[in-house]
């Protein structure tokens, strides 16, 4: 192997996951080890208990190191959180005569220049399309025109909140090679080229947050994070039935259902009770109602965002659900109802030799992170200086 192993680290709200990958001779990628540890000290994708997040992260890293028999020194760090947003930006330059590679490079850097509110930092600049004299979706090199434009989607977040996650990694004496928005990583692993061309919405149902990325007209047209995740469902259940969080979590996993069924009205479920309390049951119907309302609302929020941006009717390929929340019963049925589009659960797919126990929806982001890192590394080798400029392209179709 000529290249160092690629390590993607995802510090999620409920799990810390480490994916170790190695490049193969044919240019493909193979996942060689996974570290997966429970995480406490995170809420809604943000650090609330530094010490405890550190020890959870360490556990996951040690697990991966043992399995892969390597020592991890540098990682690609996945990031989410409700503070992450995306805005479209168009850069324009005047050109004379035939458009050259240099012109294209210049317009790209212009398009990346965007004034963000104080304290915000750019995570990704994703190239959408070029335009020559108002004609969009063209390959401009060699064309003749007066103005050249480039559309970028700028993904940005609040620096101070992201710093805390980075500090956790530094505490482990690790270098952060890149910070990647986890939603974009999930896209990398779970979507096919056909889906991207048709227009597709990916929703990553995480524990603390729900990330989404929308492809329309063959390009990433919107991305964002809703600060509501599986923990909210659990919290709603705990509140309604007055039980503890872990018990609510158990109830959700075993009986949770995104759709209300008539049969639920008569089915009773036992709930754990404290010492000396009488045994108690709750109605399945009530549980279904709680989960349904929360999930419907979350999907509805994403739908509203896309509608506001006029993207909803451009997503023809349907909705792909990924992340641990995709295990929720009937969640695809609910998404179909809310979005009026076909919906399926998706796991990581764009990696060779992925064993069945890795091809699960909750690993989409981590595997995507490794894929992303692999491409970063390839580009670094190919064109050592200024590799950053191509970052955006990797999410495109080409």
């Amino acid at each position: 192997m000529s290249m160092e192993p690629i390590v993607a680290l995802e510090i999620g709200t409920n799990r810390v996951r480490v994916f170790v990958a190695e490049a193969r001779e044919d240019g493909g990628l193979v996942i060689t080890a996974v570290g997966d540890a429970a995480c406490s000290g995170m809420r809604k994708g943000e650090v609330v208990d530094f010490k405890s997040v550190c020890s959870c992260t360490e556990a996951a890293l040690r697990q991966a190191e043992t399995a892969a028999q390597i020592s991890i020194n540098e990682v690609y760090l996945l990031m989410s959180g409700s503070q992450i947003e995306a805005i479209p930006n168009r850069g324009e330059i005047a050109v004379e005569g035939e458009i050259t590679e240099e012109d294209v490079e210049q317009v790209r850097s212009v398009a990346k220049e965007v004034t963000l509110p104080a304290g915000r930092e750019i995570l990704h600049s994703i190239l959408g399309q070029y335009g020559v004299d108002g004609c969009f979706g063209v390959s401009p090199v060699g064309m003749t025109g007066k103005t050249l434009s480039a559309d970028m989607l700028i993904v940005h977040g609040i620096a101070s909140r992201m710093v805390n996650v980075v500090k956790v990694v530094k505490e482990q004496k690790l270098e952060v090679l890149e910070i990647l928005f986890s939603g974009l990583c999930a896209v990398k692993a779970a979507l096919s080229t056909e889906q991207k061309i048709q227009g597709v919405l990916l929703i990553d149902l995480g524990g603390g947050t729900t990330d989404y990325v929308a492809y329309a007209q063959s390009k990433i047209s919107d991305a964002g994070v809703i600060g509501v995740g599986g923990d909210h469902v659990t919290n709603d259940i705990a509140s309604a039935f007055r039980i503890l969080g872990p018990e609510a979590e158990k109830l959700k996993r075993q009986f949770g259902d995104a759709m209300v069924s008539a049969a639920g009205r008569t089915r009773q479920l036992p709930v754990p009770t404290g010492v000396g309390e009488e045994p108690r049951t709750v109605k399945l119907y009530d549980l279904q109602t709680i989960v349904h309302l929360r999930m419907e609302e979350t999907f509805g929020l994403i739908r509203a965002q896309l509608q506001e941006k006029g993207l909803l009717n451009q997503i023809r390929g349907g909705v792909v659900l990924t992340g641990g929340g995709a295990y929720l019963k009937n969640v695809t049925q609910l998404a179909e109802k809310v979005f009026g589009l076909p919906c399926a659960v998706g796991g990581p797919r764009n990696v060779s030799g992925l064993s069945a126990n890795l091809a699960v929806p909750e690993y989409s982001t981590g595997v995507g992170g490794a894929l992303y890192g692999h491409q970063c590394a390839l580009n670094k080798v190919a064109q050592a200086p200024g590799f950053i400029k191509a970052v955006g392209r990797w999410f495109g179709i080409d």
């Binding site: 809604k44 008539a262 008569t266 709680i290 739908r303 049925q333 009026g340």
Partner: protein
């Protein structure tokens, strides 16, 4: 989020629930007899009455006589107290009737003794058994006398406490639809037709594989936020202008007070029944007209059913909740919270056992229910704190 019941037409998956239709009292039983006459594959329909003779003559298969000792099979003689006692005499039979069903559509012509006295009791029993209870009732014409009217209003108030929602069709509202020379028999036949249409409209949407289906959860969502009161409207049309006719009939007619009720309502369910010739353009026309008539932001769920024998005809059935508690208004978060805790704000005299029991079960500690997100900056959207459970912000009382 506003799209949860969908302002646009949504293709909703089939929802099957076991529906039971019960008529209480003479008036309702005769409505159901008429309804059953040309009803293909009807749901379970039962008649509950104190009058053994009327019961025997009824075309309903499942007959439940009540108060055989107290009323001796002779009816309640317009006395609601007698109707109540009769129901209490046969509680077990009524419990048996409602068991193993999910939705009870209770039909009653309030004002009569059996209907007024027994209907609230049946509603209470059904709700205890876990059914969603929709009461579909009429109140008397003014010419039927003030005593009957008063009794009907008392029964209505009691029913509102025991049923999940009451759909009331005041006969007097229909009065203006009839010409002054209409014979009495025809006036009552007209009421029967309206009731029949409503029951069947609702049933059609919930029970069949329709082009556009409504879910049980849509109905539940409307009903549980309705403040226990829904308004029913019906319009139909035939021939080339069938849709315009039906829309005019519905929106200009007195049942919805010339569309005023649609304009006031926070949420509604619209059911369209048509023949195989019903076109997309026609559906769109209905949707647009409703969109215009409704207040901005109103939640509308639309279902459509195509029946073979409805060629050249269309019928529109509307269930609207005027007192729908909006869930998105940020200022109402506290209000709906308190109603979630203590039941309905206007439900003051909770004397009936069912209502009392529910009120108590809903009580929780008076924190703001942010639970594990207590100490965190709230996730807000348009002023709403998303960390608070959705069901609380929607004002839904749990456990049910």
């Amino acid at each position: 989020m506003a799209g949860n019941m969908g302002s646009s037409m949504e293709v909703i998956r089939e929802a099957r629930c076991r529906i039971l239709v019960v008529g209480v009292g003479g008036g309702a039983c005769s409505v159901l007899s008429h309804a059953l006459a040309d009803w293909p594959n009807p749901p379970t329909v039962a008649a509950v009455n104190t009058d053994a003779g009327a019961l025997a003559a009824s075309g309903v298969d499942l007959k439940v006589p009540i108060g055989r000792t107290i009323a001796q099979g002779l009816g309640a003689g317009g006395d609601a107290e007698l109707g109540r006692l009769a129901a209490n005499e046969d509680l077990d039979a009524l419990r048996m009737l409602v068991s193993d069903h999910d939705l009870l559509i209770l039909v009653a012509s309030l004002g009569g003794g059996t209907a007024t006295g027994a209907a609230p009791i049946l509603a209470g029993l059904a709700r205890e058994a876990g059914l969603l209870v929709l009461a579909y009732v009429t109140t008397p014409f003014d010419f039927e006398g003030s005593r009957r009217q008063e009794q009907a209003q008392e029964g209505l108030a009691e029913l509102k406490q025991n049923a999940d929602a009451v759909i009331c069709l005041p006969n007097q509202r229909l009065y203006s639809m009839l010409s002054p020379g209409t014979p009495l028999v025809e006036a009552f036949a007209f009421v029967d037709r309206m009731m029949t249409a409503g029951i069947r409209g609702l049933w059609t949407l919930l029970a069949r594989d329709n082009m556009l289906n409504l879910d049980f959860s849509d109905l539940q969502s409307l009903v549980s936020n309705s403040g226990n009161e829904c308004v029913f409207g019906y319009g139909e049309g035939s021939g080339p202008d069938k849709v315009t006719q039906a829309l005019d009939d519905l929106l200009e007619g007195p049942m919805l007070e010339k569309g005023q009720i649609i304009a006031n309502s926070g949420a509604m369910i619209l059911s369209i029944t048509g023949g195989p010739d019903l076109s997309l353009a026609e559906l769109e026309m209905i949707r647009q007209r409703f969109h215009k008539a409704a207040r901005p932001g109103a939640h509308t769920a639309i279902g459509a059913a195509v029946l073979e024998d409805w060629k050249g005809r269309v019928a529109l059935t509307v269930l609207a909740a005027e007192h729908w508690m909006p869930s998105t208004a940020p200022s109402s978060a506290r209000q709906t919270l308190s109603s979630a805790l203590f039941g309905h704000p206007e439900g003051a005299g909770q004397s009936t056992p069912a209502a009392g029991k529910r009120g108590k079960q809903g009580i929780m500690e008076l924190d703001d229910n942010r639970g594990r997100f207590q100490d965190m900056a709230p996730t807000t959207y348009k002023g709403e704190d998303l960390d608070i459970p959705t069901y609380i912000r929607r004002g839904i009382r749990l456990p049910t």
